[in-house]
């Protein structure tokens, strides 16, 4: 087994460390709370000569992603980080990075969007760009944020994928809390991610290419979207393969979804990110009392592992989907995807949607207990799954 160093570190420090170990050629970034310490610590790595990255200090996130797009098209391994208003400001460039099939890796420190202005955790920033064609991985812990960053590099640059990957960690909860984690040595990470060999690189003057071309009438744009969709569909297999290889190397299991107690659970909570820890804690206590409860954490949101989720939930008597973002439609983004994934099942699984924790509202254990209690009532036939609920508001 590989020797790893156990450290006490914040999620952001570990993301910066993982990025340093993946050694991108270019990083173009702009600081924004609670992402700042990622790019700050990375800048120090560059200043100290610990990594040979061209660090581009730009004047905005729009410019950050624009510079990343240019650098990636030129043939570089490129990384950046942002969140919230910064991610929103990158908007049009996100679609360009994905449409041009540029394997950029970006950390997102999940934070609410204004207004009212708020700097704390929720998933409305990343969920807003879930249709941009990026792969999206979520971390529950600082350890997962570290691991996801390394895996994301391999996944993005895989010849069957070649799409940008966003690795998300919960603002402050995961980005700033000091957590215990295991860190691999530089050589191991270097060996795992390998050397990036870009195809169609602008700097290859012997084989000139042009990027950013027009695909207008006659349906060519449509064909490129189909090409993108095929890559996204195929990416699920790559995420699983790279995850399995990483798990073998690190000794830490990886799944596009990760279940706790799901084998014989009658009710379960489906959630994303740091909340999974609270949910498991409550589930453990309820298990001790003999209640058959489970927790299903979605670690890979794009591509969406619909078949895996359907298989995990199909026998359950009641399921709650917890969304840490609003869509102001028929449910939160995760709920809509999960419900769609379950639609084709023979048996209908009663499903309820809770919106929780917006703008960093605390996810207290009693809130999770209440969800399991509601599920227990539904499973027993004492209550019907109701409409979307706000969990924890007054």
């Amino acid at each position: 087994m590989l020797q790893q160093k156990t450290v006490a570190s914040t999620g952001n420090s570990l993301v910066a460390e993982a990025m340093r170990q993946c050694a991108p050629d270019v990083m173009a970034a702009y600081p924004i709370t609670p992402q700042t310490t990622i790019v700050e610590e990375y800048a120090k790595f560059v200043a100290d000569g610990r990594v040979h990255t061209e660090y581009v200090t730009v004047e905005s996130e729009h410019s950050a992603m624009s510079a990343c797009v240019g650098a990636s098209a030129a043939g570089a391994r490129v990384m950046t980080a942002t969140c919230s208003q910064g991610l929103a400001f990158m908007w049009e460039q996100l679609y360009i990075a994905a449409g041009l099939r540029l394997p950029i890796v970006m950390a997102n420190a999940n934070r609410a969007l204004a207004a009212p202005i708020n700097i704390h955790c929720d998933h409305s920033d990343v969920m807003g760009c879930r249709d941009s064609g990026w792969l999206i991985l979520f971390a529950e812990t600082a350890q997962e944020a570290y691991d996801n960053t390394i895996m994301a590099t391999r996944i993005a640059e895989h010849p069957d994928v070649l799409l940008p990957v966003m690795t998300c960690l919960d603002g402050f909860i995961t980005t700033h809390s000091i957590d215990r984690a295991q860190v691999m040595d530089d050589e191991t990470v270097k060996g795992f991610v390998g050397e990036y060999r870009a195809t169609n690189m602008l700097l290859d003057t012997d084989n000139p290419v042009s990027h950013g071309n027009f695909a207008g009438l006659g349906g060519t744009y449509f064909e490129f979207k189909k090409q993108h969709r095929q890559a996204m569909n195929g990416a699920l297999k790559v995420v699983k393969e790279v995850g399995a290889e990483f798990a073998e190397l690190s000794g830490r299991p990886f799944g596009v979804i990760e279940g706790w107690g799901m084998e014989d659970a009658e009710t379960a909570i489906v959630c994303i990110g740091s909340t999974a820890g609270n949910a498991r804690h409550v589930a453990r206590e309820l298990r001790a009392k003999g209640e058959k409860v489970g927790v299903l954490k979605v670690r890979c949101f794009r591509p969406f592992p619909a078949a895996d989720i359907a298989a995990a939930l199909k026998r359950l008597k009641a399921v709650a989907v917890l969304d840490r973002s609003e869509s102001f439609g028929e449910g939160g983004p995760l709920f809509l995807e999960v419900r769609s994934a379950l639609y084709d099942l023979e048996t209908r699984v009663p499903l309820v949607n809770y919106i929780y924790g917006l703008g960093g509202a605390d996810v207290r254990l009693e809130l999770i207990e209440r969800v399991f209690s509601d599920l227990s009532d539904i499973a027993a036939g004492n209550a019907a799954p109701g409409a979307l609920q706000y969990l924890g508001t007054r």
Partner: protein
């Protein structure tokens, strides 16, 4: 080797280059890109001093030069931006520039 696009209208998603990359350089020679020009540069050879400023400034390399002399414009690629006419210095002997922009299509019958 030239990029073969003869079947482009039949290509499926798998056949297009990934990410809409064009895998060869300088191929705008092969396409007429000046079709939407609304004004066209016209040069008076008698007034022209062959200073070549138009050739230097043209953003689309559409000023055709042979043996160090401007011989005309590549109207297949000229977009009619007028930079050449703008930069063209007034020849004091004639009191005017060698290049002026004229509206496209005005020589057509019935169009003024």
């Amino acid at each position: 080797m030239k990029w073969d696009v003869s079947r482009v209208n039949e290509w499926t998603a798998d056949e297009f280059p990934r990410g809409a990359v064009i895998p060869e350089g300088g191929n705008s020679h092969d396409y007429v890109t000046g079709g939407w020009r609304s004004e066209r540069p016209v040069r008076d050879d008698e007034v022209c001093t062959q200073c070549l400023l138009c050739w230097i400034f043209c953003p689309d390399t559409s000023v055709v030069v042979r043996d160090e002399k401007v011989v005309g414009f590549d109207l297949d690629h000229c977009k009619g931006c007028g930079i050449c006419a703008n930069e063209c210095p007034t020849n004091p002997k004639f009191g005017r520039k060698a290049i002026e922009m004229v509206p496209e299509g005005c020589e057509l019958p019935g169009v003024k």
